[in-house]
């Protein structure tokens, strides 16, 4: 694993840029430990100060330091993305592996449900969730809801890998030596789908963060937990663009765009690494 990462860093420019951007985002998020202010306190600094040496990224109309607020917001947003990604990985791994290995009617039923979840527009459902839960809609609950809605696409990818693993020699050896289905899936197949799980994790983080930002910009989440979307929400509430407090909106957007592009580049370069055809192309050999 370590050697693969080192190789990717050395030979793949997309991976290098992606790692740089994500690393930067992680550093900003980690700086929240050193923040002199509590993230939920308001009017701790003079409001509406443009970026200066005292307040690097300016201050908000609510009297918060944009830089320190940003560190908390990015931390929470990233944590949210990771939480959703890890939870939904479990769903998609179980469904993908079982469906691909079992085949037959199990596969047909699971994939019919799977395709349904791919097709259904999730945003109205999430809005409906917020609408009935209102103030009880917490950060963790939203992560759980999104994870239980957002596994389908990756389950299909994992299934396609599992289907080819099923026909390999060692699977048959495992069956003949009396391993249970669970043992075969956990011990024999799981390690082989891990690369694709990692690359889909990045895309899933992007997907969930995107939805979270959108929901919280509209005020449809717990707006008192600082997130990137929450920052834009409060800026919009104080009509920051009209008032000329552009730094309140520009920096959160810049931070989130940086994170998105970074995660996406990581996913793309890992996909390319997993796909042997493109690896051959890169080495200059291959069919062409």
């Amino acid at each position: 694993m370590g050697k693969i990462l080192a190789d990717l860093l050395r030979f793949n420019i997309e991976f290098r840029i992606g790692a740089l951007l994500v690393g930067l985002a992680l550093i900003i998020a980690a700086l929240s430990i050193f923040s002199p202010y509590s993230p939920i306190d308001v009017y701790t600094v003079p409001p509406d100060v443009p970026p200066s040496s005292a307040y690097w990224l300016g201050t908000t109309s609510r009297g918060q330091d944009v830089f320190w607020q940003l560190t908390f917001a990015l931390r929470n947003t990233l944590l949210f993305g990771f939480a959703v990604a890890i939870l939904s990985r479990i769903f998609s791994l179980v469904i993908g592996l079982v469906s691909g290995y079992k085949g037959g009617w199990v596969d047909r039923v699971l994939m019919a449900i799977n395709d349904t979840f791919i097709i259904i527009p999730l945003f109205p459902l999430l809005v409906l969730c917020y609408f009935v839960l209102r103030d009880s809609m917490s950060w963790a609950l939203l992560a759980l809801i999104m994870a239980s809605l957002g596994w389908a696409y990756d389950a299909r990818l994992i299934r396609s890998v599992a289907m080819s693993l099923k026909t390999r020699e060692y699977t048959r050896t495992g069956v003949f030596s009396g391993m249970s289905t669970r043992e075969i899936l956990m011990q024999e197949h799981l390690p082989h789908v891990m690369p694709i799980v990692f690359s889909t994790t990045m895309n899933n983080i992007n997907w969930s963060i995107g939805l979270e930002v959108t929901l919280s910009v509209l005020g449809f989440t717990d707006i008192n937990t600082p997130t990137i979307g929450g920052m834009i929400y409060w800026a919009n509430q104080h009509t920051a663009m009209v008032a000329g407090v552009w730094w309140w909106i520009a920096f959160p957007i810049a931070a989130i765009v940086m994170t998105f592009v970074g995660l996406f580049l990581l996913a793309v370069s890992m996909n390319e690494y997993i796909d042997p055809r493109s690896r051959l192309n890169r080495m200059g050999g291959g069919a062409s």
């Binding site: 019919a112 449900i113 395709d115 349904t116 979840f117 791919i118 097709i119 259904i120 527009p121 999730l122 945003f123 109205p124 459902l125 809005v127 409906l128 969730c129 917020y130 609408f131 009935v132 839960l133 209102r134 009880s136 696409y153 992007n206 963060i209 995107g210 939805l211 930002v213 959108t214 910009v217 509209l218 449809f220 834009i232 663009m241 909106i249 957007i253 989130i256 765009v257 998105f260 592009v261 995660l263 996406f264 580049l265 793309v268 055809r277 493109s278 291959g286 069919a287 062409s288």
Partner: protein, 334 residues
């Protein structure tokens, strides 16, 4: 038994399943709530205006039935379905006494119009440019397009729409940034109204196209660059077929089939994007309707928009699936 009828039946079954699961999810969500949404909605409405007591009582009973809080769980479930089948979501709270279905069907043409045109434009443009970029891999301009597509593609709809709003609303105000048409124009089939609609749709459509372009471009590029290395393309080259003909009928044609499947798969996501785009640009479609309904605490309207959007998206997927055999003849042969 094989061929198109079987394919047709399978697609129809999938459509029914999507609608079934979607409506059940909506039912489950509205019934899993720990708080009483009826009293909350009524409190939200009566806060703002002095409504007559008997009107409130009528509203409460209608809402109770709509939420399915009357009768046994089985009756509740069945009455929920019967309302959905009849597209009867009761009167809207925020626009009392207009029925929810009237509001939704008034907003639907805007959304469908915006969505269909921008999706088709995105799909054609993305696949064309992606195909060219996959075939002419040395071309500088197409390479640069790849980089732009890669940067724009992962950014969520909201951010792109919002940035466009800032650019064309504050920095360089040349285009209308809000509404579906000019306020003072009566709706009708005349040039003044149509041109106003077109002008107002430029920014929402542009944000949808900008975001969607990337995935089709990247997908088509990788598909084409794989197909180019296949034997039948090599053979056509050796046989002296013109490179344009190779690109169009030997490469692109083969790459299109997975892209059509991709279009069906991503329709739900595109619809999510349209909702948000509409909200940012104040476009009078179902997205604006949905979000305003949440702010107004209008339960029937939220539920109505949710179920009708699930129906609409799955219908769109069904249509794409049914025309798919025209592009991939193998479906009929199998």
């Amino acid at each position: 038994m094989s061929g198109y009828p079987v394919y047709f039946a399978k697609r129809l079954a999938q459509f029914a399943l999507v609608v079934f699961i979607g409506v059940n999810l909506a039912y489950f969500i509205t019934h899993a709530t720990p708080i009483d949404p009826v009293e909350q909605s009524i409190a939200a409405v009566t806060n703002f205006s002095g409504t007559a007591p008997d009107a409130i009582a009528q509203m409460r009973s209608s809402l109770r039935e709509l939420y399915g809080l009357t009768g046994t769980p089985r009756q509740q479930y069945l009455s929920f379905w019967s309302r959905i089948v009849r597209a009867d979501f009761g009167p809207s709270l925020s626009a009392f006494p207009t029925p929810v279905s009237t509001l939704v069907f008034r907003a639907l043409p805007w959304t469908v119009g915006l969505l269909v045109t921008s999706t088709i434009a995105t799909w054609i443009l993305g696949n064309l440019l992606g195909g060219l970029a996959g075939y002419y891999q040395k071309n500088r301009a197409l390479k640069a397009m790849g980089v732009i597509a890669m940067t724009l593609h992962p950014i969520p709809y909201y951010i792109v729409a919002f940035v466009l709003l800032i650019i064309f609303g504050f920095v360089w105000p040349v285009l209308p940034i809000s509404g579906g048409s000019a306020m003072n124009l009566p709706q009708g089939w005349n040039w003044a109204f149509i041109s106003s609609v077109l002008r107002h749709s430029i920014l929402p459509a542009m944000s949808l196209i900008l975001i969607g372009l990337g995935s089709w471009f990247l997908g088509m590029r990788s598909l084409v660059s794989n197909i180019v290395t296949e034997d039948h393309v090599r053979y056509a080259e050796l046989a002296g077929v013109s490179s344009r003909r190779i690109l169009v009928s030997y490469v692109m044609r083969n790459a299109l089939a997975p892209q059509v499947t991709g279009l069906a798969m991503s329709l739900g996501g595109i619809f999510n994007g349209a909702i948000i785009t509409e909200r940012v640009f104040g476009y009078p479609g179902v997205g604006t309707l949905l979000i305003d309904a949440v702010y107004a605490g209008d339960y029937g309207l939220v539920l109505g928009v949710t179920t009708i959007s699930i129906l609409g998206v799955s219908l769109g997927v069904l249509i794409i699936d049914l025309i798919y055999p025209l592009i991939d003849p193998r479906v009929q042969a199998r």
